[in-house]
Amino acid sequence: MTNAAAPARPALPPIVFGGIRPRARWREMWLLLIVALTLYVGSISLGATEAAAAGKSLTLSPAEDQPLAIYLGALLLAHLAQVVAGRRTDQVLLPATAMLGGISLLLMERLPQSLVSQSFGGLDLGLGQVQLLWLLLAIGLITILSIVVRSDSWLRLYKYTWAAAGIGLLVLTFIRGEDVNGARLILVIGPFSGQPIELLKVIMVVFLAGYLSEFRPLLVEQDTRVGPLRLPPLPYLAPMLVMIALALGIVVIQRDLGAALLFFVVFLMLLYVATARAAYVVLGLLLFVAGSYLMYRLFGVVQDRVDIWWDPFKDPSGNGYQIIQALHAFARGGILGTGLGAGLPLVGGQPPIPAVHTDFPFAALGEELGLVGVLAILGLYLVVIERGLRIAAAAADDFRALLAAGLALVVGVQAFIIAAGNLKLIPLTGITLPVISYGGSSILANAVVVGLLLALSDKGVEPPPPPRAGRRFARLRDAVGGRA
């Protein structure tokens, strides 16, 4: 017993320069190599298909895909930065995210470039180039966050400040925001514009993690008895009501159903993680159903979305057009897909789905990569989720656990909502497919998520390596000795 109580003395890697201890990350390197190879092959496939479509003779020579080269270079730098920083952070998260980002880059290069045009200092950039820019910024953000963030106190201590900032952002969007398709989504401040909802989802998770970890004991152990019902302590229901109000507010003010759904689902799931009480979830679901019904009756937007979802074929050239085109795209893809660059037949020079780069990249990938590719992409998201939840399960305390779980959920649930919307499993809502959809706000917000997850995954000082070799040697010695 007394031996066990001896303080652990970890062996540390050598200090190379000024307190920095580089640490090789073999797993990350190997996975990033596969990512690079995959994307390179994808780029060749895309180039060859486009050459064939243009009537040129089919060339299978390496494509001169400059954006991809830049992207892979940035990944290499990010990896080296992680190695030099020497933190014991997760090694799977970056490659998985990088694969999703690379697929996004290939898709955006392949879509009509005219879908987006921005000019930076006299330089006119098309869809693919702008997306590359965002992806590079995202890699930078991930690297910086994962290396610099050592303490979580700035998140933990100021949760109410964060919440206030989030609500302020929401109000600002309402006052100053611009409308997109009837939803108030975009906030313009000076030269910058963006979708604040993307940042808001991260802030929400931080607040919820802080709140739930602080009040977890109370939420779990106290009851308010109302007749035969055992309800959670009423004062602590307040955040739940605030969350529902927030979700309602997003719907009412912003007409943004996807974000509202995302917030509420993530909230319920985190509540479950914190308390393990099914009562909360059931109560939340009941409120959700009641709220949805109310909104269905009150708001035309909600009603339209649900009606389109229920029977898009009723109005195939009007309201149901986009979703029907998406379903056709999935169908054309079949099991193996048409191949990168070979799908999405242009009608009058336009892709059949107008919002393909923001709302329907999943359908586009479904067509070009087929069911096989769709399953792989779903798998990639599951990997991100798994890593996040693993980090949560291994976290040293409740706040970190809830924060990690919440961040993983934000990515996973958002991917589910939009993918299910594309597949007509639930009504379509205009949120982005994390990391794949075009859009700066979305990509940077998800970069913050991944960066924070990496920082949270730091295992601290390394425990002494298990004496595996020694044990083997000892076994060997025993065996020899036994015979002798």
């Binding site: 004991p217 779990v220 152990e221 799931m269 479950y272 993680v273 914190a274 393990a276 195939p316 085109q325 379903l327 056709h328 999935f330 169908a331 054309r332 893809g333 079949g334 099991i335 193996l336 048409t338 037949p345 242009l346 009608v347 059949p352 479904g366 087929g370 069911l371 769709v374 399953l375 779903l378 998201y381 599951l382 989720i385 798994e386 939840l389 949560a392 399960a393 291994a394 976290a395 409740d398 656990a401 809830l402 779980a405 959920l409 996973g412 649930v413 589910f416 993918a419 299910a420 597949l423 007509k424 499993l425």
Partner: protein
Amino acid sequence: MTDAGVRSSISRLRTAGLRSGRRPVGQNVGRLGVTLALAFVVLAAGAGYWQVWRAQELSTAPDDPAVVAAARHVVRGQIKDRTGTVLAASRRDANGEPYRVYTDPSMSPVIGYASRFFGTAGLEHTYDAQLTGVLSPDPVQQLLAKFQGNRADPQDLTLTISLRLQRAAQRMLGGDKGAVVMLDPSTGEVLAMVSGPTYDASAVANPATAQKAFARLQADKDKPLLNRAVQGLYVPGSTFKIVTSMAALSSGAITTSTTYPQQPRAEETGLLVSGFRVRDGHHPFTDDRALNYPEAVEVSCNIYFALTGLRTGGARLADWAGRVGFGHQIPFDLPTAVSQVTNGGGKFGGGFKDAVEVANAAYGQAEVLATPIQMALVASTVANEGVEIKPQLVKSFSSDRDGTRTVGPQQMADVLTPDVAGEIKSAMERAVEGDFGKLFTPGAAVPGIPTAGKTGTAQLAAGEPHSWFIGFAPVDHPRVAIAVIVENAGHGASRAAPMAGDLMQLYFETFGK
């Protein structure tokens, strides 16, 4: 610590454990992970549904952008009749974009049109994907098509239609509204399918004339765009007695020797069914003799069939009608209207309202409605020893790459035993060839070939009755079955029967005896 103290602390521990309160977050996270994984499995299933289960249907639908894009630029495959005469071909306009040209207006209801402005109709619609080459009829080729350079491989369609018979039928129909369906009872191949009035599909397909021509066709109150052979629902009149025969003989309600003693008298006074009189003219040649089954068919005795219908019962009548195709969409290359024996919902067996309705339905009045193709199938089923073959319009698909793929006959239903089929057959032969039959059905018999058939005179609420005939020849080994209806043309004998006789005669002239 006392024992009691330990016990109480353990029990408190247990309650605390049950409440699962301070359980580490890790376990909850695990459950959450499982939930999310299941949600993603649902996504995968959703993707599988659209990408595998519904893939073929959606990706070859005529409004799929890929099909539309292909249709605009691809030269569609040709459509030919069974002898290879081209019925639909493509030409290029000044811009080099192809458009369709159709050789014979009599084919328009069957082939339809492919227009740049108004989409597709008829076989051009059904086989859009094959004609544009997006879809190969051969599943293996369909899989391999991905690996071949030019994905669009337009298929040529060879129809089962004989242009000669088709033209003749159209000519005989003249300006009248009506329909003719001729088919081979043993293979289901449709030899002629005419719907009058027809229209000039080339005018719709030609971009120069399309707008005007289409507007005129849509405004036409004779509805030439309606294919009456498959979409027209008509009161079948006495031709429906064959369906009643199927039900009555198969169910054993009657035999061929069944007679009804009250029948001769009822011809004069009317047959009293639940206080309602079913009336029929007296058949002058039969004296006051009670008729047996073949005789009743020969002279088309309504009273006999009303009584037979009552004896068979609504449920069994509806049941056998259903077996031969009533109440269902007939699987066919063109969309078919659903034939019916009753409006349904009634409390009497089979959805009939009451006994009166059954009695009237038994000889093809009341609420009975049938498409010409349905009645042709009735004749064809009797001809083919009771086995109903699925009707088909396309004999084969062919393309340079895939070669030719022939569409074989498909059995649709086994309706009658050969014995019952034989009994109905010989009754129908008497209706055409018998001493009295000849008088009722003049001109239906093909000279030198034993012919069977049944006329119908569909009484309408207003206007002249529809003239019906269904039949087949030769009786022993039938090679052609036919259904003819001419709207408001009076008795079956006056118009439909001679037309059918001439057409069958032409069949034997064309294809040999």
